[in-house]
C-alpha cells in the first residue's frame, strides 16, 4: 500500500489567505511538483475568532461591499490563476467566457447602491461538475457520448447559485457519468492533484476538488453517489459535504443511480460549504424526491459553540486492516484533539459496514443500466450514423461510452434480468436496509459518527488499473 504521506497538515492551524502584497509568480512547469508555490488570489485576510479558517464567501462579500476590491478584479485574479495552473491540473473541461461580464454586472449593481441587496454568493467563483447541466456551457458528463452537448436548461442547483450572485467559472472534470474514484475515467483528460501532480485528485468529482484546492475557484459543486464528493475532497485536502438525499434538488444532475445520487458542495472551509449548501438546497417541484423539510432553521452557521459533551462514535470497522497506517494516525490524532475540546469519543462497531460496498455496486450498476439507456444517439449527444435502428443504438453507445461505463451497464443489466432480480437487486436493497438500521441504532447513543473519508491518501496516477478485457 502507499507509504508516502505528506507531513500532517491541520488546516485549522494555518491562515488560508496571504496578504494582498503577494503576487502570483510565473509558472515553472518542469520543476513544480505541487502547486504550493502559487499563492491564492489576493484578498484581505480575515479570520474568525479562535483561529478557525475564514469564510472566503463572507470575505468576498465584505470586500465587495466595503469597496476594497471589485468583483471584476476578483474575477480577473481567479481567472489568471486558473490559466496559470490549468496546464498542470486540467481541472476544467470547459471555462466560461462570460465570467467578467457577470462580474461587471455585480459591480454595476454595487455602483448603483444596491450592495446590500446582493445575493449571499455575489462575486463568488464556482466550479460546476460537468454532469450538472448548464444552459450556456457544454455539459458532457465527462463522456464522449455528450461531447459538445448543450442542455436547454440549468440544473436547479446552478439556477439557485446564479440567483444568489454566484459566477460559474467553468465545468470541472469527472469520471465518466460519475463512475469511478480517480477521475482517470474521464473521456477527455486526466486531472492532477494540486498537492502532488503525479497523483490523482480522487473521484468522481476530481476536477471540483482540485479546482477548489488550487484556488481556481472559491467553492464547487460535485456529485456523490458512493463517496464521489467526500473522497476527492479528502485526497485534495478540502472540505467536501455530501448532503442528505433529498436536501438538494437532483433536477439537472445527469442521473447515475437515482436512489443514491446527491449534489454536494466543496470548499476550503466548513463555513463556506455550509453557506453554499444553504444557498442551493430546498424543495424543488421538478424533483419529486426533494425534501420539503427546511434546512438551518435556527442554526447560525458561524456561531462558535463549545464541543464539550458531544458524543462521538468512531466506527471501528473503518480502521481495520487495509487502512493506511498514516490514515490511522491522523484519525487518532483527530480523536485526541476532539477529546481535548471536550468530546466524549467512543468506538462503535457496525459489522454490516463492509456490506455497503458490494450492495452499492449492485444497486448503482442496476440503476445506471436504466438511467444510461437514454444515451441512444437519437435524442442528444453524438450519433454514429448507421443503416438501421438497432445498429444506430449499438454503434453510438459503443463508440461514445468508456469501458468503465460499459462494464457497469452490463453488470446492472445482468443483475436485473429475469431470474436474477431476487438474488442480486432485491438482496442488495435488503442489505441496504440493514446498514441503515445499524447506523440509526448507533446514532441513538452518539451525536455523530466519524471515520476516515478514504483508507489511504491519493493514489499515484495509473495505479488503479482495471482490466476490462481479460
Amino acid at each position: 500500500m502507499l507509504s508516502t504521506l505528506h507531513s500532517p497538515r491541520s488546516l485549522s492551524r494555518f491562515p488560508l489567505h496571504l496578504t494582498s502584497s503577494v503576487k502570483p509568480r510565473a509558472a515553472s512547469a518542469s520543476s513544480a511538483s505541487s502547486l504550493s508555490d502559487y499563492p491564492p488570489p489576493p484578498l484581505p485576510a480575515a479570520q474568525s475568532p479562535g483561529g478557525a479558517p475564514a469564510s472566503q464567501i463572507l470575505t468576498v462579500r465584505r470586500s465587495l461591499l466595503s469597496g476594497s476590491v471589485t468583483a471584476t478584479q476578483l474575477a480577473e485574479s481567479y481567472l489568471s490563476r486558473l490559466r496559470l495552473t490549468e496546464p498542470q491540473l486540467n481541472s476544467f473541461i470547459h471555462v466560461s467566457d462570460s465570467v467578467l461580464k457577470s462580474a461587471q454586472e455585480i459591480d454595476d449593481k454595487i455602483a448603483k447602491g444596491g450592495g446590500e441587496a446582493l445575493g449571499p454568493l455575489a462575486g463568488v467563483m464556482v466550479g460546476v461538475k460537468d454532469n450538472i447541466c448548464t444552459a450556456d456551457m457544454p455539459s458532457t458528463g465527462g463522456s464522449r457520448i455528450l461531447e459538445n452537448y448543450r442542455p436547454p436548461f440549468d440544473a436547479t442547483a446552478v439556477k439557485r447559485l446564479k440567483e444568489k450572485g454566484g459566477i460559474v467559472v467553468g465545468k470541472t472534470n469527472l469520471d465518466e457519468f460519475g463512475m469511478g474514484s480517480t477521475t482517470e475515467g474521464s473521456g477527455f483528460q486526466v486531472t492532477a492533484n494540486p498537492w502532488d501532480l503525479g497523483r490523482v485528485p480522487g473521484g468522481s468529482s476530481g476536477g471540483s476538488a482540485s479546482a477548489v484546492s488550487a484556488r481556481q475557484c472559491v467553492v464547487s459543486l460535485g456529485s456523490d453517489t458512493g463517496g464521489s464528493v467526500r473522497q476527492p475532497a479528502s485526497f485534495c485536502g478540502v472540505v467536501g459535504l455530501k448532503p442528505t438525499y433529498g436536501r438538494v434538488s437532483r433536477f439537472g444532475l445527469m442521473a447515475y443511480a437515482s436512489s443514491l445520487d446527491v449534489i454536494g458542495c466543496l470548499g476550503t472551509s466548513v463555513a463556506d460549504v455550509g453557506i453554499f449548501l444553504n444557498a442551493i438546497s430546498g424543495h424543488d417541484k421538478f424533483d419529486a424526491t426533494s425534501s420539503k423539510q427546511s434546512l438551518f432553521t435556527s442554526i447560525n452557521l458561524l456561531e462558535s459553540k463549545p464541543l464539550s459533551g458531544l458524543k462521538v462514535g468512531l466506527i471501528r470497522e473503518t480502521l481495520d486492516d487495509g487502512v493506511d497506517s498514516g490514515v490511522k494516525s491522523a484519525i487518532n490524532a483527530a480523536v485526541l484533539h476532539m477529546q481535548e475540546l471536550g468530546c466524549i469519543v467512543n468506538e462503535v462497531s457496525l459489522p454490516s459496514f463492509s456490506l455497503g460496498l458490494p450492495a452499492y455496486y449492485i444497486l448503482a450498476s442496476s440503476e445506471s443500466s436504466s438511467n444510461l439507456s437514454r444515451y441512444d444517439g437519437v435524442r442528444y449527444g453524438k450519433q454514429t450514423v448507421s443503416d438501421e435502428l438497432n445498429a444506430l443504438y449499438a454503434n453510438s453507445r459503443a463508440s461514445g461510452f468508456g469501458p468503465e461505463v460499459k462494464m457497469r451497464i452490463l453488470m446492472g443489466t445482468y443483475a436485473l434480468s429475469a431470474g436474477y432480480y431476487d438474488a442480486y437487486y432485491k438482496r442488495a436493497q435488503q442489505v441496504r436496509t440493514l446498514i441503515r438500521e445499524s447506523f440509526k441504532t448507533a446514532l441513538e447513543t452518539n451525536d455523530i459518527l466519524i471515520s476516515p473519508a478514504a483508507p489511504s491518501v491519493a493514489y499515484k496516477m495509473g495505479m488503479l488499473v482495471v482490466s476490462y478485457y481479460s
Binding site: 419529486a288 440503476e367 436504466s370
Partner: protein, 355 residues
C-alpha cells in the same frame, strides 16, 4: 397506473415521433376472465366508458384513443376446469368491434377444437381486421419480454390515508348503476332509465328538472322526445342549449295547469332551446295564455260557425269530419290559444244543436 408513450406516425417520406401525449397518466383496468360473450364484454366496456365520463376523468372516446381496449379469449370444453390457451386481440377501435372480434375468435377456437386441432391455438397476439371482420396472426412473434423492472427511485412513495380515501369516496357523483336503480324506483320504464342514465349531463338535467317539482314521466318524455331531437338536429350536447332545467319544469307545470296548451308548449320549447328566456316571459310577450273561458270560446265558435254557413250545411248533412275544419278556424282566430278540449266540446254541442 402507467404513463402513455409517444406515437409513431408513418408517412411517405419517413416516420415521425409524436411525443405530445407522452407522460399522460393511464389507468389500466384488468377484468376477471368471467365474461362469456362478445356483447357482455362490449357492454362492460361501455359501462366503463360511462363511469369515466360520469367521474369526469376522461371523455372515454375510443376513436380518439382516450379509451383503449385489448381482449383475451380462451375456450375450454364444457366440464373442464382448467382454462384453455388464451389469445390476445388488438386493434379494437369501437364497442361493436369488441363484440364482433370476440364472437369471431370464440367460433374460430371452437371450430379448431371440433376438428381436433386445438393444439394449433397458441398463446399469441392477433389483430382484428375491421374490413375482413376476422382476427389474423401478427407477423412477428416475439419472445417473452424481459423488462428488468425495479421500483422507480425518482418517484417517492405515495401514502394514502384512510381520511383521504374516504373524502374521495364522498366526493364521487352518483355512479351509473346507482342512478339507474333510482330511476327505476321512480317508476320510469327501462327504456327511459337507460336513455337518461347514459349521459351524466342528461341525467343531471333531468334530476335538476324534477327537483323543481316537475312530473317525472313528463320530464322524461320531453327530454327523450323533443329535446333529444333538437340536440340531434343541431348536433349539440345538452350542456349547449339555452334551456335551463327549472324553465323546463315551469313549462311542464304551465301545461299541466292549463295555462298553455300542449301545442303552444312545444312552440315555446323550441324558442327556449334556441334562445333561452323564461316560460312566463314568453307567455306574456307573445300573449300565449290558453283561452279556457267557456263564454269566450262559445263566442269564437259562434263567430266561426256564422262565417262558414256552407261548411255548417255540409257538416249537418253528414260530413262530420268537418269538425276539424271548424276547430282549425277557431284555433286560427284565437291564435292557437283556445283550449282544444273545451273547444271540441263546445263545437260538438253547437254543431249538433238543433237550430
Amino acid at each position: 397506473m402507467e404513463e402513455d408513450a409517444g406515437k409513431l406516425m408513418h408517412s411517405g417520406n419517413g416516420s415521425y415521433v409524436d411525443l405530445n401525449r407522452a407522460g399522460v397518466p393511464l389507468l389500466e383496468i384488468v377484468s376477471e376472465p368471467d365474461m362469456r360473450t362478445g356483447i357482455e364484454a362490449s357492454e362492460y366496456a361501455a359501462e366503463l366508458q360511462r363511469v369515466v365520463r360520469y367521474l369526469g376523468v376522461s371523455n372515454g372516446n375510443m376513436q380518439e384513443g382516450s379509451l383503449r381496449c385489448d381482449v383475451n379469449v380462451s375456450v375450454r370444453p364444457i366440464g373442464q376446469a382448467e382454462f384453455g390457451t388464451k389469445v390476445e386481440i388488438k386493434n379494437l377501435n369501437s364497442f361493436s368491434a369488441i363484440n364482433r372480434a370476440i364472437d369471431f375468435e370464440i367460433s374460430r377456437q371452437v371450430n379448431l377444437h371440433s376438428q381436433g386441432q386445438q393444439d394449433s391455438i397458441v398463446q399469441e397476439t392477433r389483430l382484428w381486421e375491421e374490413g375482413a371482420q376476422k382476427t389474423v396472426t401478427m407477423r412477428k412473434k416475439e419472445g417473452l419480454a424481459d423488462y428488468r423492472y425495479f421500483p422507480e427511485p425518482d418517484l417517492p412513495e405515495v401514502v394514502l390515508t384512510k381520511a383521504y380515501m374516504d373524502s374521495v369516496g364522498k366526493s364521487l357523483p352518483e355512479l351509473p348503476e346507482a342512478k339507474r336503480r333510482r330511476y327505476e324506483e321512480m317508476g320510469l320504464s327501462m327504456q327511459d332509465v337507460l336513455f337518461l342514465a347514459n349521459d351524466i349531463a342528461v341525467a343531471d338535467f333531468f334530476d335538476a328538472t324534477i327537483q323543481k317539482g316537475a312530473d317525472v314521466k313528463l320530464a322524461a318524455n320531453w327530454i327523450m322526445g323533443d329535446i333529444a331531437a333538437y340536440l340531434k338536429n343541431e348536433k349539440l350536447s345538452i350542456n349547449d342549449i339555452k334551456l335551463v332545467p327549472h324553465e323546463l319544469a315551469e313549462l311542464i307545470a304551465s301545461i299541466k295547469s292549463g295555462t298553455i296548451s300542449g301545442k303552444i308548449g312545444k312552440e315555446i320549447l323550441f324558442e327556449l332551446l334556441a334562445k333561452g328566456g323564461t316560460v312566463k316571459g314568453l307567455i306574456e310577450e307573445k300573449d300565449l295564455v290558453q283561452i279556457t273561458d267557456l263564454v269566450d270560446i262559445e263566442k269564437m265558435v259562434d263567430k266561426v260557425i256564422a262565417e262558414n254557413p256552407k261548411q255548417l250545411e255540409q257538416y249537418r248533412s253528414g260530413k262530420t269530419k268537418l269538425q276539424g275544419y271548424f276547430a282549425g278556424q277557431v284555433m286560427k282566430a284565437s291564435k292557437g290559444k283556445a283550449n282544444p278540449g273545451i273547444l271540441n266540446k263546445v263545437l260538438v254541442e253547437k254543431l249538433n244543436a238543433k237550430v
